[in-house]
Symmetry: C2
Subunit: 555 residues, 2 copies
């Protein structure tokens, strides 16, 4: 193997939805020059990552090859594509390319990370191209649920790759560039070696619907509402915000934007000239003084996020605004799996206030930003790739997407995070397996997912925590009995006595009888005390707790 090869390596987003991070390389094996496409995050939950702020891809493989990285390209400004740019900057220090709207969103995170202005380059749209080592990369406008999304055309000495980014086929997306079938057909006609393609909606059997179909139903809904109307959607879905705001205006309502994410996105879209006819908005204070039938709130928190505007309105009031009997709350959104509990909680809180709830699940008030099964097939037909690599999806999505490709006679492969492919042949081949994992932003610190920190927290959450303290004098004689502090355990156990007292009695009995050999051995003493604490708690409470033993030797 002395020739060059063209590699593809997902470090995030392949085998999951979220955290998109893909690497392409070209060169001799082990010496490839590299580019990175997207640096995204995914979001923590109580089930597996309590207390974590954000989840990032583990980029150790990249850091070990930092001198070979030519550039980072960001397809669009969703957090699962751009969210790790700031948090990775100091470690990667590679130039970042994005189109102007995406760049404005990335800029804030890069500033926080102390990156210089020169770190970020604004790319023009295709046919402009950026040279990055052996790669030439073009940003091709593609429709999605955020402005200025782009698929990448990546030209390499071994052929042309189309990296779709997240996309849908929408020829009338309300804001920003439509999906241009002619253009994508022309790119296909240039010859495409591999289409690396979004898979998230592959299970949706019907062709996707255009953003523009929503204006009618939403306008009608709002026009018929007697009281205040609040609507939530992703703050980054600027087209939806426009549709909602215009529907509000058509119904004679003044619009309020509630939630920082929403205002940031609208501002970025206005600053970059993408959005230039958004209805005038009023402040929450102004809205509070108006008749309810004249106000429409656009609020963050469509996924039930605890601190977002929707949650605060559901709980009580937000910036002086309250919802009440006769008001309407529209979820112009779909609940992402895993977020159901939070969303349902808000719905019930609104129900308690007498607010009528309209959900987007019916389809009339929400459309997805991703290509459905038939749309993926159309993309395959337009781009006419020699091979397809499904990306951005759980394993089941990648597997189905592969089947869709193969049914059309196009070779495909499932490559999950850490599976490096060689795209140089007539069909994609696995070249290497690389350690890929997750890094957590925990508080303000980056830690590895396997460091055990979060595992310990989950164990304490499930089992409670017993702390045993024992003081030994200079002669290794116990001073007093061991004592016990509990956290997260019932006070009274099966014997109807206080758990702490039962534990202390059992531990004292052991210490009283233990030989000098055990007492003098740090390791054995701790092990025995821990084991007794666990056994007694199991007997009393039916739980085996986490135990911390602190032996203080005055010697």
């Amino acid at each position: 193997m002395s020739g060059e090869r063209l590699i593809y390596l997902p470090l995030g987003g392949a085998g999951e939805i979220g955290m998109n991070t893909y690497v392409y390389g070209y060169g001799k094996p082990g010496e490839e020059r590299l580019i990175v496409v997207d640096l995204g995050v995914t979001f923590p939950d109580m089930d597996g990552t309590p207390g974590v702020e954000l989840i990032l891809p583990d980029i150790k493989w990249l850091l070990d090859r930092r001198d070979r990285i030519e550039a980072v390209f960001i397809t669009h400004a969703h957090m699962d594509h751009v969210g790790a740019v700031g948090l990775s900057w100091d470690r990667l220090r590679a130039p970042i390319y994005a189109r102007k709207f995406t760049a404005q969103i990335a800029r804030e995170a890069l500033d926080e990370a102390g990156a210089p202005d020169t770190a970020l380059h604004i790319a023009e749209a295709w046919p402009a191209m950026t040279q990055a080592g052996p790669f030439r990369v073009g940003f091709v406008p593609i429709s999605h649920s955020i402005p200025e999304s782009s698929g990448l055309v990546i030209e390499t000495p071994a052929g042309r790759i189309v990296h779709s980014g997240d996309f849908k086929i929408d020829e009338n997306p309300v804001v920003g560039e439509p999906f241009d079938k002619v253009l994508w057909g022309e790119i296909g006609a240039l010859g495409v070696k591999a289409l690396v393609c979004d898979s998230t909606n592959v299970f949706s059997p019907h062709p996707g619907r255009s953003e523009s179909t929503l204006a009618g139903p939403i306008t009608e809904l709002i026009r018929e509402a007697p009281g205040l109307v609040a609507a939530t959607t992703f703050g980054s879905n600027v087209a939806r915000l426009k549709t909602l705001a215009e529907a509000g205006r058509a119904a004679g309502r003044s619009v309020v934007l509630l939630g920082r994410a929403m205002r940031t996105m609208v501002k970025a879209a206005e600053d970059t000239g993408i959005l230039n006819d958004f209805p005038a908005v009023i402040s929450p204070e102004e809205a509070a003084d108006m008749p309810r039938g004249k106000v429409m709130l656009l609020v963050t928190g469509s996924q039930g996020e605890r601190r977002a505007a929707s949650a605060q309105l559901a709980q009580g009031s937000y910036l002086g605004l309250k919802l009440q009997e006769g008001d309407l709350f529209l979820f112009s959104s779909k609940t992402i799996p895993g977020n159901e509990r939070g969303v349902i909680k808000i719905m019930n809180q609104l129900s308690e206030k007498g607010v009528d709830i309209v959900e987007g699940d019916s389809g009339a008030y929400h459309v997805s930003g991703h290509a459905n099964g038939p749309d993926l097939e159309e993309m395959h037909r337009l781009v006419k790739p020699e091979m397809i690599v499904p990306m951005h999806g759980e394993h089941r999505h990648l597997r189905r997407h592969k089947a869709v490709a193969e049914a059309a006679g196009i070779p495909a492969i499932i490559a999950t995070n850490g599976m490096m492919l060689d795209l140089g042949g007539t069909r994609p081949q696995v070249a290497e397996y690389v350690d890929a994992g997750r890094t957590y932003l925990d508080g303000a610190v980056l830690i590895g997912a396997l460091d055990g920190v979060v595992r310990d927290r989950m164990r304490m959450a499930l089992n409670g925590h017993v702390m045993v303290t024992l003081v030994l004098d200079e002669q290794d004689e116990p001073i007093g009995d061991p004592w016990v502090d509990l956290m997260g355990l019932p006070e009274i156990g099966r014997s109807k006595a206080a758990l702490a007292e039962v534990l202390e009695a059992d531990l004292a009995q052991f210490v009283g009888r233990a030989g000098a050999k055990i007492i003098r051995s740090e390791e054995r003493l701790e092990k025995e005390l821990r084991s007794i604490a666990r056994r007694t708690t199991q007997d009393e409470i039916g739980k085996k707790p986490e135990v911390t033993v602190v032996v203080s030797r005055l010697s």
Copy 2:
């Protein structure tokens, strides 16, 4: 108010799905004789109840009036109706009435709780009635997703109540008694004061479909499957198990039951004569030796439960059985909101093995056990109540159900847990507000939801735990410096030094400078040490941890 009144008091199930527990009373205010309908549980989750085994209604109100409880009636054997019977027996000691299948399921829990055989009474179906103080209660067969479900006719001196229990309108339920429209019409004709009615599916706009519609599609699906077929559903859905097993047999497959819950339910249905033609089953060992196309597994774990058969098969093997490329896994079930992550995890694990997954969400392979919106309207028409009290549902379900009733001109009210109604008038009225809450089975111990035990565990899960130990001699002089143990916190903080060392340095500095007054005050010393530990951890890690301070005084 010296006359008698008829009261209704939900202690669980009203304002939530699960944990059904309803009280009816008749007599002078404060002296009512009481009956309890259902004693159910709900299930914990990491979001709010990590480490908890089961969630029960807080029955303090009942315990304070134990001498006034005539009986407990259980409508059916789902855990959210019968699950707290065993755990409540020792505290309540009221006679329990159930039909025979339900009684067999309750029996095991009562045995574990040490209840005598005489605690449990088997009730015959309507028109048989049980006298319980001023109440006469009849079990009227009603269709649902478990055998022998019953609505209750509760006759009182103030009128007749129909308590629907969980139900659907299914005139061909495959196993057990069909919904008998004539019978329910006859009961309606007797005159019904109040219909207390299941609300869980009120948002489903189409009439419910019969269990019997599934046999065709399921049989066809299994017949076309080349490899092994595994299907999961609720173990208690005996009709579904029969449909699945018969479909397997029709496709020339031998059936294996995997999972204790499933075997228990089939056995109970056979023992009680409800199920007498279930296909013969073979053991996992026998199945392992057969061609894959000749085997069908019925497995527990449709909700992604971690230890159930489906999860074990998805992870690797279970009792010698493995799934592989070309096998089929059918979810003959719907994912309950909140369980998505667990179910999706199993789907992806199966996908990794090359197993094809078929979901019940499409409707072809699963029907709900609850009455949809139009079915509820039909029930209202059949029973012709003077008033409707929506039960078993979140607030949004109760609210919609109330609107459905009122649209038909029937007075209705939303009564959530703890809201006691007086049903004696022409429309339901709130009589009192009662403390209603939740009790946790934590390990083997019952604790109150507000005891703080689980709150502390969640705090440790979110924030980590710092333990500070300081030893003081007889003169209150510190022996050595304070030391620190950490659990669930990153080792290295912002200053790039070990967090424990930074903490110990800051704490030692404080102790060195603290005056005797602080050192001698248990309270102030602990407070200061805790405050420093929190502040330093916040500076280093960006998290405010839980802190336990142990000051050992040798005096």
